[in-house]
């Protein structure tokens, strides 16, 4: 499979009146089509900055990004649904902004809402939905623009643990069903192992990539993030990643 995204020698400095801080230092990685890459790192490292640079919301100080002309969709920590719009109106927001709200797009949204159990709630307001449903609505809002690469910024961290496990399964299924490539940022080791094809471990600031691991889990039947947690290799990965993050912690 070919690369869909290449990050080459990305550096990012933030300036304030008091100081200049190096946030990212020589970040290099590639993502293949259909792959889920998880960037695992401690809180406060430049994880979100990497996503912001990929999304084009921030310019890197130096280095180059090649997205091979692919479209990028961004999903945030909170659902960020607009409370004055219905679920349907929220989902069409991106299309409305890009003036692409045609019949074809409407049909696609209808399909997504129907298979992911939100069709009956399309005329409800966000406050009338559960946390998990809101998160699914937020994902469909992103998918409505038909992106090739999805960026997920700790997208499940606002949910309670039980909902979080269900939503993670849902979102994983949707990403795989719709054949998307995804880059997910998290500080949760278990979540990283259960979702990822590849995990890149990040260091403290200035953030660099410490190591990259391919995840191979032995699972009976279809993989879901939930049953991935029962795979025999799960604990080994957990210990390995834990140790790497600890080592980095001690160096600081």
């Amino acid at each position: 499979m070919s690369n869909i995204l290449d990050m080459n020698h990305i550096y990012k400095d933030f300036y304030s009146l008091d100081e200049e801080r190096q946030i990212l230092k020589d970040i290099n990685f590639s993502v293949k089509e259909g792959e889920i890459l998880v960037l695992l790192g401690p809180s406060g490292c430049g994880k979100s900055t990497i996503l912001n640079i990929i999304a084009g919301l921030l310019e890197p100080t130096s280095g180059s990004i090649n997205t091979h002309g692919k479209k990028i969709g961004y999903m945030f920590q909170k659902d960020q649904l607009f409370e004055w719009r219905t679920i349907m109106k929220n989902i069409t927001l991106g299309l409305e902004i890009q003036h692409k709200l045609n019949d074809e797009a409407q049909d696609e949204i209808k399909r997504l809402l129907q298979i992911y159990d939100l069709w009956d709630f399309r005329n409800n307001f966000p406050r009338e939905l559960s946390g998990g449903m809101k998160q699914r609505a937020a994902l469909i809002r992103t998918l409505a623009l038909n992106p090739d690469i999805l960026l997920l910024d700790e997208s499940f961290s606002g949910l309670d643990f039980q909902t979080r496990l269900t939503v993670t399964d849902d979102i994983y299924k949707i990403i795989k069903n719709e054949n998307k490539t995804a880059i997910l940022v998290t500080h949760d080791i278990s979540e990283a192992i259960s979702l990822a094809d590849t995990v890149a471990i990040l260091s403290h600031r200035p953030t660099t990539i410490q190591s990259v691991h391919q995840i191979h889990l032995t699972i009976d039947g279809e993989k879901t993030p939930f049953n991935a947690r029962t795979a025999p290799e799960f604990q080994d990965y957990f210990d390995l990643f834990w140790k790497e993050l600890q080592n980095d912690e001690e160096r600081n």
Binding site: N52, A55, L57, I72, G73, Y74, F76, Q77, K78, Q80, F82, W84, R85, T86, L93, G94, E96, I97, Q98, N123, N124, F125, L145
Partner: protein
């Protein structure tokens, strides 16, 4: 239209008690007004208080009826109402427009910041005599005073509402490739709908201050004129009547905005 409420006996009792409580409060409010008026009337009639200085309800009422019969009151109210509505519209819309400009350009906001702070701290009524000299002792002058009293607070409040919109929501819009205009019209303004209604409520009070002060200084008609004229010739009945009519109209405008708010809220939840 009576809605059938369903629920357990406990829930129905709960609802009934809440209704009973609000009715109770309304009765106490009405009763205290009536008692106050009766006490005032009796005290003035029996000479406990001097009705030359405090007037009395029956005299104010008789005077109001006289003013209604000869149509004078409609002329005064009409003029003041026109000035207030014009001042309110110009002050609110103009203030919002300037607040949008400041939101649009951070540099502009920083340049204007100290001037706005001074203008906001200054009692705007202190500017009234100057404005009357500049614009003229006419309805135009009074409207300008009304605009000045409401516009600064509109600019400052609206601007602070605009800049506190969730930065992640702005990032979301940007990730869709939204233009600044789209961020304004699809996020910043709708997110502040209720805030704008509240601003309108504050502005009603502000604008009336401007209009009344303007009429005090230079006018031949209006509620403010009525009050100041009554004071000068020691006809306290006229002053009291002016204040009473003023209170009624402020209340009506305030309730009008309340109805607008209810209508907007209903419209939002009735879309389904």
């Amino acid at each position: 239209m009576k809605k059938e409420t369903k629920g357990s006996p406990g829930y129905l009792t709960y609802l009934k008690n809440i209704k009973k409580e609000s009715r109770h409060i309304l009765w106490i409010q009405l009763l205290s007004c009536v008692i106050f008026l009766i006490f005032w009337e009796v005290a003035a009639t029996l000479g406990w208080i001097d009705d030359f200085f405090v007037s009395k309800p029956s005299a104010i009422w008789t005077l109001l009826i006289k003013y209604i019969e000869n149509g004078e009151i409609f002329r005064h109210v009409g003029i003041s109402l026109l000035e207030t509505l014009a001042g309110l519209a110009i002050g609110t819309i103009g203030g919002l427009f300037i607040a949008i400009c400041l939101w649009w350009s951070d540099k502009l906001a920083r340049i204007f910041d100290p001037f706005l702070v001074v203008l906001n701290a200054l009692p705007k009524t202190a500017l009234a005599p100057i404005l009357i000299v500049w614009v003229g002792a006419s309805m135009k002058g009074i409207i300008v005073i009304a605009v000045i009293t409401s516009i600064t607070v509109t600019i400052m409040s609206a601007y602070s509402y605009f800049i506190t919109v969730d930065p992640d929501k702005i990032k979301l819009m940007q990730s869709f490739g939204a233009t600044k205009w789209q961020i304004l019209t699809k996020l910043v303004l709708p997110a502040n709908g209720i805030n704008m209604i509240n601003l309108l409520k504050i502005n009603i009070g502000m604008t009336w201050v401007g209009v009344i002060v303007g009429e005090f200084i230079a006018s031949k008609a209006g509620i403010g004129y009525l009050i100041v004229y009554g004071g000068q010739v020691f006809k306290l009945n006229v002053v009291m009547m002016g204040v009473f009519v003023l209170a009624i109209f402020t209340l009506i405008m305030y309730q009008g905005v309340n109805l607008l708010e209810i209508y907007l809220r209903k419209k939002q939840s009735a879309k389904k």
